[in-house]
């Protein structure tokens, strides 16, 4: 397996409680990995360790390593803003920035000084809005506030905004849980289209979504990884009792 993210001996503590217990997994490149498990099992915590979002919550402690392309993102000399540029995040609820649709897409490119002039920015905005499947709906009102969009459109805007900083990895923290079925489907198809170019890691609590999206599956329970493997293997022939129980709807 061509691993993009490698997690080695990862432990996470919230004040005194241990949230993640000795995690050792690898996340395959340019595939969709789905992390699933019952609520409170540590799915989101694990996801947050990949873009160093865990440190935004006070009182957390972390030991072990998370390697992206072989480099430990928790090394002292690593610039956290660079980590987050390479590892993008699609949050649970869309949260557009307080600016226009256009400026939302430009924001990330602008802080990282990725383009030279207005023309390049304009082209990039169009490009990423097209990838997110939003261009046709918004190209006539690019300078309207981002909040004038529907929630589903806002989430696609957030996708475009995230892709615009040219990440290699996309994290999704239940990215469709706030959306209506049609918008969810739209986001899911985007993620499937994008998986050839991006390594995608999705946390979800809906089994059906996991089955639709996953190439690779990680099943977690009470802060531990119980089982990890290709979607076909895990869904058809789970090796572990707990995974089987979850897939059959007993947990």
């Amino acid at each position: 397996m061509d691993a993009h993210i490698q997690v080695k001996n990862l432990n996470v503590y919230y004040s005194k409680q241990q949230a993640l217990k000795n995690i050792n997994i690898e996340i395959p490149k340019n595939q969709i990995t789905v992390i699933m498990g019952p609520s409170g099992c540590g799915k989101t915590t694990l996801l947050k360790t990949f873009n160093r979002f865990l440190e935004l919550t006070g009182g957390t402690q972390l030991t072990g390593e998370v390697l992206v392309d072989g480099q430990n993102i928790y090394d002292r000399d690593v610039d956290v803003t660079e980590v987050r540029k390479v590892v993008g995040l699609l949050a649970q609820r869309p949260s557009p920035l307080p600016m226009s649709i256009y400026d939302n897409v430009v924001y990330g490119m602008n802080i990282h000084r990725m383009k030279k002039d207005r023309k390049e920015y304009k082209a990039a905005v169009r490009h990423y809005l097209e990838i997110a499947g939003l261009w046709d709906e918004v190209h006539k009102r690019l300078h309207d506030p981002a909040t004038s969009l529907s929630i589903g459109q806002q989430q696609r805007l957030c996708l475009a905004r995230g892709l615009a900083v040219e990440p290699e990895i996309i994290l999704g923290d239940e990215p469709t849980s706030a959306l209506d079925p049609i918008s969810s489907q739209n986001i899911e198809s985007r993620l499937i289209e994008l998986k050839k170019q991006y390594t995608t890691v999705i946390v979800t609590h809906t089994l059906r979504q996991a089955k639709r999206l996953a190439d690779y599956v990680i099943y977690m329970y009470l802060g531990e990884v119980i089982e990890a493997g290709s979607a076909r293997e895990v869904f058809n022939d789970p090796q572990h009792e707990r995974t089987r129980a979850y897939l059959e709807g007993q947990i």
């Binding site: 873009n51 979002f53 935004l56 803003t81 660079e82 980590v83 987050r84 540029k85 993008g88 995040l89 949050a91 609820r93 949260s95 557009p96 920035l97 307080p98 600016m99 226009s100 924001y107 990330g108 802080i111 990282h112 506030p145 981002a146 909040t147 957030c158 905004r161 995230g162 900083v165």
Partner: protein, 290 residues
């Protein structure tokens, strides 16, 4: 009729009608008072309002009905309120930021907010007396500077608390969204937080300005009153609220009328500032996340 019962005048319906009446009555009282105030000021003030009133300073015999205007008070009030607002801003923005960033909802945060709320409630005459005592102790005379300092003290708690409330409502998701794109904390503060907060902060500042320009009691002791336009921070200065006060106290009807005209000018300034701030914050508000 099927299952839907006809509306009857039951007790609960009567209660609702009565409550609605009380609410409407309150609205009428408030709107009516505002209307009456404006009406009296306009009716009594307009006849005395002339170009001279707003372009000239009092000439000899002005207070017995002769020529001149109250440019001294208009400019004095603008200087006082602008200076006070600027000074208060310099201190209230960092205090509000400190409250949000470091004190939060801690015990100290609670005490700081409590003190600000108490300060907000202190009558301005007390501020005036305090300023006066301080000036005597320091051997200072009534001056524009003293007026500005005392107005800044009055405006500070209003502005700080108003900003504090605005900043506390900053959605955390917004910061996270910007951080997730690889922003530094400073970029988040500069490009995202300020954009989100600007309308609220503008409103807070203008709220302070409104209180400052209308205050008579505090400037009475500290800024004094003069017929000249202030040319230095160390000179005393006139102000509109005091111009109203002195002229209304005059036995001459013409002068009294000019008092109303001064009140009208003050009202127009305050109205312009608050309408302006509405307009400005609506413009700035366009992009904020609700």
């Amino acid at each position: 009729m099927g299952f839907l019962k006809k509306k009857r005048w039951q007790r609960r319906h009567l209660v609702e009608t009565f409550m609605k009446f009380i609410m409407r009555f309150s609205l009428v009282i408030v709107a009516g008072s505002l209307g009456l105030i404006l009406w009296i000021v306009v009716v009594r003030g307009t006849p005395a309002l002339s170009l001279d009133m707003v372009t000239k300073i009092p000439e000899g015999g002005y207070y017995m009905g002769k020529g001149g205007g109250i440019l001294n008070a208009i400019l004095g009030s603008l200087y006082l309120a602008s200076g006070g607002t600027l000074l208060a801003m310099i201190f209230s923005v960092p205090i509000a930021m400190y409250l949000k960033t470091y004190l939060g909802d801690s015990k100290w945060g609670y005490y700081v907010r409590l003190s600000l709320d108490v300060l907000w409630g202190i009558p301005s005459i007390v501020y005036g007396a305090f300023g006066f005592t301080l000036m005597i102790a320091l051997g200072l005379r009534a001056s524009l500077l003293a007026g500005i300092i005392i107005l800044a003290l009055i405006e500070l708690p209003i502005m700080t608390r108003a900003m504090d409330e605005v900043i506390r409502r900053m959605p955390i998701d917004l910061e996270h969204a910007a951080l997730a794109l690889g922003s530094t904390k400073f970029e988040v503060a500069l490009r995202v937080v300020t954009r989100q907060m600007l309308p609220g902060i503008t409103t807070a500042i203008l709220l302070g300005f409104g209180r400052g320009i209308g205050d008579a009691a505090s400037v009475l002791f500290t800024a004094g009153y003069t017929d000249r336009i202030p040319t230095s921070l160390m000179r005393p200065t006139a102000s509109l609220p005091l111009a109203v006060f002195f002229q209304l106290g005059s036995p001459y009807p013409e002068v009294q009328q000019r008092g109303y005209a001064a009140a009208l000018i003050l009202t127009i300034i305050v109205l312009a500032v608050s309408l302006g701030s509405r307009w400005l914050s609506a413009r700035l508000n366009k992009y904020t996340i609700k």
